[in-house]
Symmetry: C2
DNA sequence: CGAAGGCTTGAGACCGCTCAAGACCCGTGG
DNA sequence: CCACGGGTCTTGAGCGGTCTCAAGCCTTCG
């Protein structure tokens, strides 16, 4: 997930190495897939696609992080997911006639492998483990949405923030908010103000300390116990 | 989707005929899949699986409707999806070690085809169109969740109800709420009281009439225009 | 006819949102 | 090194949509 956070370096290597996409796949198959797919580099901030466009391609994220979000009025958005290396997306390409629902924007420089619909079909038949990868990646993303819906329906603002913090990878008792607070807030279904207040709340209760994007978790157990 | 609503009759036929699962698949492959899968009949109200159990099987819904929901305290639940004939579910089986997130309960008598994990893998390799079906079904469900999240984040209670009504299949200007109002409310992320009030609101504005589960849509255009 | 379950209606409280202003952070350029 | 400026985050005050709790109603079914 957050492993490739500063993959500034990784991108200079062959992207094949970085991606968990290829695990359990023969070298010849890898090479073939790389050859029929088109490798694209995406500068930070660029959009790979936008809501409403027709979906002609499927994508595999080789490195970097991409934000999927739904536009919600001028300057507003609802963040759906943060994608990381190995994730598959643009899945709507499998439903001819459909249109893209979300925007895809690079949060950092990204490497993406893209496949035309026709090539995708062929690749899945020829390399079953490729179809397998799509299925497992899609299933993971599906479970992610499920958990987001669960949290949004069942937990209060502060509980959602606590849960998010606990799910972040941490070194010692310290963790780092990997994206802009505004974006994280949106992913949690909160306004930036509410997110901020929830962090303050947790800090006031002595559970965490916040300075900028750095968060120290003083009491993971009590934090966890907030989630009931 | 709602085509098989009153498939009381369809179930008496060979379930193979009813399901859109098999489209584009040779008869021999169909037969083989039916033979390695186990056909299960589920009486109304029965649970196929429950949250927390380990996922050993993948499922294809042949007929009937199944409610996926997340338990939320005593007698409470958050409805995630209503599944119909042809839908694939139990996808977590593809992620060994994971546990089921939702409950699956039959809303009417159902026929389900279930596959052990191992057989599933084999089937996908041997019958690529079967893997294809899983991918497209999962993608459709994924888009469904996406749209639910979008609606829940961006629309008011009454707007969500209006949208739901417009999406129901209707004969003339009449439609029918296919499940208990309590369940539909939950799917829309509302309390039953709020759902009821929203319906009354729309009725008071002359846009619809409600009697029991029957809804007459007087002015679809104005109803649509509520969604901005 | 009675009971049970589902739905509706009402009154009140609360959580998170909105709007607005001020503080902070950080990269940039003088 | 410091001052500047844009964007991001925080803080405050007030509002409002939805939830909660509690009756009452309606339909269905035994």
């Amino acid at each position: 997930m957050a492993l490739a956070a500063d993959s500034q370096e990784a991108r200079t290597h062959d992207a094949r190495i970085a991606s968990p996409l290829w695990m359990g796949m023969a070298c010849t198959e890898q090479a073939w897939l790389m050859s029929i797919g088109q490798q694209v580099h995406l500068p930070r901030g660029d959009f790979l696609f936008r809501r409403g466009a027709s979906c002609t391609k499927g994508y595999v994220l080789l490195s970097g992080h991409i934000k999927l979000s739904i536009p919600a009025g001028p300057g507003q958005e609802k963040v759906i997911e943060f994608l990381g290396a190995g994730d598959v997306f643009g899945e709507s390409v499998l439903l001819p006639g459909h249109h893209l629902i979300a925007d895809a924007q690079a949060l950092e420089p990204c490497d993406v492998l893209s496949f035309e619909r026709h090539d995708l079909q062929a690749a899945m038949v020829r390399v079953p483990s490729f179809a397998q990868k799509w299925l497992t990646s899609l299933t993971k993303r599906f479970e992610g949405l499920l958990r987001d819906i669960e949290s949004a329906s069942l937990l209060s603002a502060t509980q959602r923030v606590a849960q998010y913090l606990l799910r972040q990878p941490r070194i010692g008792n310290q963790t780092k908010l990997p994206f802009h607070k505004r974006a994280i807030a949106s992913k949690l279904g909160l306004q930036p103000e509410t997110f901020s207040r929830s962090l303050q709340q947790l800090a006031a209760d002595g559970l965490i300390s916040v300075r900028g994007s750095r968060v120290v978790i003083h009491d993971p157990v009590r934090l966890q116990s907030l989630l009931v």
